[in-house]
Symmetry: C2
Subunit: 188 residues, 2 copies
């Protein structure tokens, strides 16, 4: 038996995305976003959704660029702080001690301490209501060498990314491997 | 130090989404998608990205509707099977034993056995390259009563959703709570 929750933005799992931008004054800023995901393989694209009143919205519309950082759980407090205050009146890098690195590919900064960063050029915007969706083409994915495995590939346990749970507004870790894709289903 | 992975569709975590549709003949079908996420709070919207050659693409374009089911890890084999074969020549419900339920709100089926289902009306499409993004308005979220907690809210551990890891192509569980959002960051 099912219960109707009503028309609500609910999905499991949700990501914890740190959107990096330079604002109009050139100050690096970060936003904490759970509304987003990969939306194309070729060209590789990612979408994020941002309210127009956000400081990050203006920065992306002006600079046509953003980064998406995946913070490890070691930075849970910094990531949460980023979602509490506005870059309009706060220097979030100074407050948290995170280090801004200027991307050589797009007009946006990424975070030195985060294990994974996507550098994105704005391709499309789509107004949906209170949020505007922004689609970015992924120009490169930067991965900290410390999270690469013996094959030189990023290892999810070394990255230690967080999952956002929107009902209880909690951050979770990623759990163990349950099975291999394109393999488990072959028995049917 | 960072390493460039190149321009690739990489994000952590990714969801495991079961896209439910009726095809042109009225046969219920499912597709396994990792490219998608919530994209608006009001109206509540979710986006998924689908290649035009997929059976599900034609079904959504025709019916202007789809559902998104969140399978629990108990259904990992069924979910994986859904991603291996095409609905063009397979009845995935018959093959897996999953039960199709006709939505009363949109022209698409959801899966009785899955703990969470979003019923969506197609609002927008956006061609991005090999994938077309489809934005659906969430008309209702159906949750199995068996996964509700004492407050009547969906509990992520009872839902037991999966996380998709695109590098090793593996399914993971969701791990323990690390902290509360809008709380952990207050120390800065």
């Amino acid at each position: 038996m099912h219960k109707s929750l009503g028309a609500k933005p609910v999905l499991f799992p949700l990501p914890v995305l740190m959107i990096g931008t330079y604002d109009l004054e050139g100050k690096p800023n970060l936003m904490n976003a759970a509304w987003g995901g990969i939306c194309s393989s070729q060209p590789p694209c990612v979408s994020i959704s941002i309210r127009p009143e956000r400081h990050t919205y203006t920065a992306i519309m002006e600079r046509k660029a953003f980064t998406i950082g995946i913070p490890s759980a070691d930075y849970i407090k910094q990531a949460d702080y980023v979602g509490i205050v506005s870059g309009k009146n706060t220097d979030k890098f100074a407050a948290t001690g995170l280090t801004s690195v200027k991307s050589e590919l797009v007009d946006a900064p990424y975070v030195l301490e985060f294990p994974v960063s996507l550098e994105c050029k704005l391709l499309h915007t789509l107004e949906l209501g209170v949020h505007t969706m922004m689609v970015g083409e992924i120009m490169d994915v930067k991965v900290a060498k410390s999270v690469l495995d013996e094959d030189g590939l990023p290892d999810i346990f070394r990255i230690n990314p967080m999952v956002y749970e929107t009902i209880r507004k909690a951050y979770h870790s990623v759990g163990p491997v349950l099975g291999k894709a394109f393999t488990m289903g072959k028995e049917f």
